[in-house]
Amino acid sequence: MNIIFLTLGVSIAIALLFLGAFIWATKKGQYDDLTTPSQRMLLDDYEITETKKDEKEEQVK
């Protein structure tokens, strides 16, 4: 039954691994803004449609 201690050690090690990953992600700021990224990923496919370049530059100016 000593195998239990091995599995226990492994399971706690895995738990700590995931905890570490979570803490790393938090410190990197991945949970700072939960609203925008979920929107942003939906908008990846939309591009600016081509227009005459000089006209565009004129507008920006």
């Binding site: 738990a15 803004d33 929107q39 908008l43 449609t49 006209e55 565009k56 920006v60």
Partner: protein, 816 residues
């Protein structure tokens, strides 16, 4: 809505309802902008539409369509937004950038609504030559912009201005921002560690409870002890800190019994484990801490979504520089507003909000005083008259001598007062703090009595273990989990309905409200000044064209209303000469050989229409003879009468509190059936606050800065219009979609939250009596605690959710 066709003369062939292609607002067909086969509500919307298409940003509308976004709000008039050239000057660059990132600037953006806005803003670097990258945070509406060139910071706000958003540069306080961010991350890390440890402890404890013995029990117990160490020593730190500070200020908070449970539970369990005793509660203690941290994190994150960090006065005075007279160079120079001193002379231009108290030096000026009166119709002030900060200049320009600046201006003092009132409101003890005081006292007393009794009857050792079990299991759950959850759920569902709530304390006050004060203009009425009655059929084409031509010379709201009423007909407008204002009476001008006069007449009869409030009568004279008469005014919001009746039937006492004149307020009260002794007219902001203070259990509903001191004097202040950020600084709740019915909803929310709190309290009392008695009689062992404690928490969470469902169902019932 009824008589519009006859009185405004819309062609009958047009569809009855249309929506603006850009902002999605319903278009008033008497005032529609029709361009390239599309309807727009205003030229602002149509020009943004054209601009987006020329820039190849037409996908904005595709995104809106695919995400089912109907309304995006009207674009801000580019004329209204400030010019940003000052951002490129060195003294401003230093204020708004940090030395670490000299090319980075943060902007608070007004007018962000949805994913389509996000796309529009973040695509800017693709075509703007000076901008490296833009990243927008939609929960705070702050865009972080990296620039390519050092002195082109103005390019970003100039671009978004043309899309209809307003950008305010934010002074970067890196330290404060960083601190807040770190605090947020830390609480998330605390929560995650508590989750991992409590979860593993539960698994190991389950093995112990189901009969693990000998070496297993011993090692599992040791692991439990080790795993609970970080939870007690690190995750629970915020509770210790809060207890220390509350002890210092000699206040009892709900955190005291919490810390007591944690400390007793942990040390008792450690002691018992080391002595080979099986009274070990590591699982209960850690689960308790985890649930606590989770419920607080949840409530905090909802609250943070609503409250913004910008100070009200900064948003009010959005311009950052002003033209100050330089005596040496005999010229006006653009200087930072912070440098303004009393005695200086400043020059202001049309549309600017005056950031100082002062005396007018120009012969006369037109000012919009809505900040003090709530009325949008400009008033004329003469030389040497006093001018208050917050007014908006409506005439071309004005030169003013400064008497007071910043916080010492009348409006500055008002806002200061408001802030002070709020601080004292918040520091008053809450329901849960009062409960905590009683709870802690009661548990303490029972524990001591029981200890003495049990040790005389049985033995001191038994007494100690039973009393400890009692303290541990007597849990203030109703207040540590259920209250934040109930409040959090209420907040969330209020937000979904368009009611933003600043402080959850509002829910404790709402059920007591008996007096409701309404501001008039913009709250009960639409606050839109337009022509209500005017028979234009008798007017000849020539007269109509002459009237439009004359009124186009003026920017007064009456003139604008007349021009938009007669519409932009494709007639050639005649030339206007000798245009002049006749002080307080009207205007006069010559067209061709005729002299036209527009005079206001005091002889006003009230309108028969149930919603219309006539405030002004204008008589048009041509060569001394009366040509036509027209009536202008405001109208009640569509649901005003319904909501007023609903609230009256529910037993609330209703009042009107307005800065407008007697006649207009009386007309409004009459139409709504509010008694004459309950209405107040021509009230200054200071007087409004006094009246509200005079009556107990009051709620103030208003729309502007002139109501702010009344908001803070009332138990509950609700604002219904204006910018969210400004309003939430000064009121308890903000109603987004301008529907008065939400006021009734808000009151209902208060009642239901109170009921749910009551139910939770009752349940918690019953639980504590039962479990406490069992503990003192010696029936509670760790297994019973491990089952009972989470079970009671779950029941309370369920009860809070149930209250919420109840509310939603009730709402649907009301809508159907």
């Amino acid at each position: 809505m009824k008589n519009t066709t006859s009185s405004t003369g819309i062609p009958r062939g047009l569809p009855k309802a249309a929506h603006c292609l850009h902002c999605g607002e319903e278009v008033d067909l008497s005032n529609v902008v029709f361009s390239n086969g599309n309807y727009f509500c205003c030229t602002g919307c149509s020009s943004v539409f054209e601009l987006l298409n020329t820039l190849g940003l037409g996908n904005f509308y595709k995104i809106k369509e695919e995400q089912n976004i109907e309304k995006t709000g009207r674009p801000i008039d580019p004329e209204e937004a400030e010019e940003y050239g000052y951002l490129d000057q060195d003294n401003f660059i230093n204020q708004y950038t940090s030395s670490e990132y000299p090319l980075k600037m943060d902007f608070y953006i007004e007018g962000i609504h949805c994913g389509a806005c996000l796309w529009l803003i973040e695509k800017i670097p693709d075509y703007a030559p000076h901008i490296e990258s833009v990243s927008l945070n939609m929960s705070s509406n702050v865009a972080t912009v990296n620039f390519k060139d050092e002195k082109k910071f103005s390019s970003f706000p100039e671009i978004v201005k043309r899309f209809g958003y307003k950008a305010h540069p934010i002074k970067i306080d890196e330290e404060a921002q960083e601190l807040k961010r770190k605090e947020n991350r830390k609480s998330l890390i605390r929560l995650s560690i508590a989750a991992v440890c409590a979860g593993n402890i539960m698994l190991l404890s389950a093995a112990i409870y189901s009969g693990a013995e000998g070496i297993f029990a011993k090692h599992f117990g040791l692991l439990n002890l080790l795993l609970s160490l970080p939870v007690v020593a690190y995750c629970a730190v915020p509770f210790y800190k809060s207890v220390i500070s509350s002890l210092r200020s000699r206040r009892v908070t709900v955190d005291i019994p919490i810390v007591f449970v944690i400390v007793v539970g942990f040390f008792l369990s450690t002691y018992n484990y080391l002595n080979g005793n099986d009274q070990v509660y590591f699982d209960s203690v850690t689960t308790f801490i985890f649930l606590l941290l989770a419920s607080r994190y949840f409530l905090k994150s909802i609250q943070e979504r609503i409250t913004r960090k910008e100070p009200a006065s900064r948003l009010l005075f959005s311009q950052n520089r002003i033209l100050i007279w330089d005596n040496q160079n005999k010229q006006f120079f653009l200087e930072p507003i912070e440098d303004l001193r009393a005695g200086q002379k400043v020059k202001l231009k049309k549309g600017e909000r005056i950031p100082l108290d002062g005396k007018l030096l120009s012969p006369d000026a037109e000012l919009n005083l809505s900040v003090l009166t709530g009325e949008n119709i400009p008033q004329t002030v003469l030389k040497h008259d006093v001018i208050y900060a917050g007014s908006i200049l409506e005439s071309e320009q004005a030169i003013i001598e400064v008497t007071k600046t910043g916080d010492s201006t009348r409006i500055g003092k008002l806002l200061d007062e408001v802030e002070k009132n709020y601080r004292s409101k918040i520091s008053s003890s809450t329901y849960s703090d009062k409960f905590a005081a009683i709870f802690t006292l009661l548990v303490g007393v029972i524990a001591i009595i029981s200890f003495v009794t049990i040790s005389t009857i049985i033995s001191p050792a038994t007494a100690l273990s039973r009393v400890m079990a009692f303290v541990l299991i007597a849990c203030p759950c109703a207040f540590v989990f259920a209250l934040p959850l109930s409040l959090g759920f209420s907040l969330n569902s209020a937000v979904e309905k368009g009611i933003l709530i600043k402080s959850t304390q509002i829910f404790e006050k709402l059920p007591h409200v008996t007096n409701i004060f309404f501001d008039k203009t913009g709250t009960l009425t639409k606050g839109v000044y337009k022509i209500l009655k005017w028979n234009t059929e008798k007017l000849s084409e020539y007269d109509q064209a002459a009237i439009v031509a004359i009124e186009k010379e003026s920017s007064h709201p009456i003139a604008r209303a007349i021009v938009s009423h007669l519409g932009d007909k494709d007639v050639k407008l005649p030339g206007v000469t000798n245009f002049k204002h006749i002080y307080t009476k009207g205007i006069e001008a010559r067209v061709g050989n005729h002299i036209y006069e527009f005079m206001s007449d005091k002889d006003i009869k009230s309108s028969n229409d149930i919603n219309e409030i006539i405030t002004t009568k204008i008589v048009i004279n041509k060569d001394g003879e009366t040509l036509s008469e027209l009536y202008l005014g405001d109208s009640l919001k569509e649901d005003a009468k319904f909501v007023v009746n609903l609230l009256r039937n529910k037993g609330y006492k209703l009042h009107i509190l307005s800065g407008d004149n007697e006649n207009n307020v009386k007309q409004t009260a009459l139409k709504l059936g509010i008694a004459e002794e309950d209405i107040y007219w021509e009230q200054t902001p200071e007087e409004k606050a006094l009246i509200v203070k005079g009556l107990k259990h009051s709620m103030m509903i208003g729309d502007g800065l002139n109501d702010t001191s009344a908001f803070s004097s009332a138990d509950v202040g609700v604002s219904v219009q204006g910018s969210v950020e400004e309003s939430l600084k000064v009121s308890d709740a903000y109603i987004l979609n301008n529907n008065l019915i939400n006021i009734a909803d808000l009151l209902e929310h208060g009642n239901i939250t109170k009921k749910s709190i009551k139910r939770n309290t009752l349940f918690s009392v019953a639980y504590n009596i039962t479990a406490g008695t069992l503990a003192l009689l010696g029936y509670i062992n760790p297994l019973a605690a491990a089952v009972l404690m989470p079970l009671s928490s779950l029941l309370l969470i369920g009860s809070s959710l149930y209250g919420q469902n109840n509310l939603n169902q009730k709402r649907q019932g009301a809508i159907l």
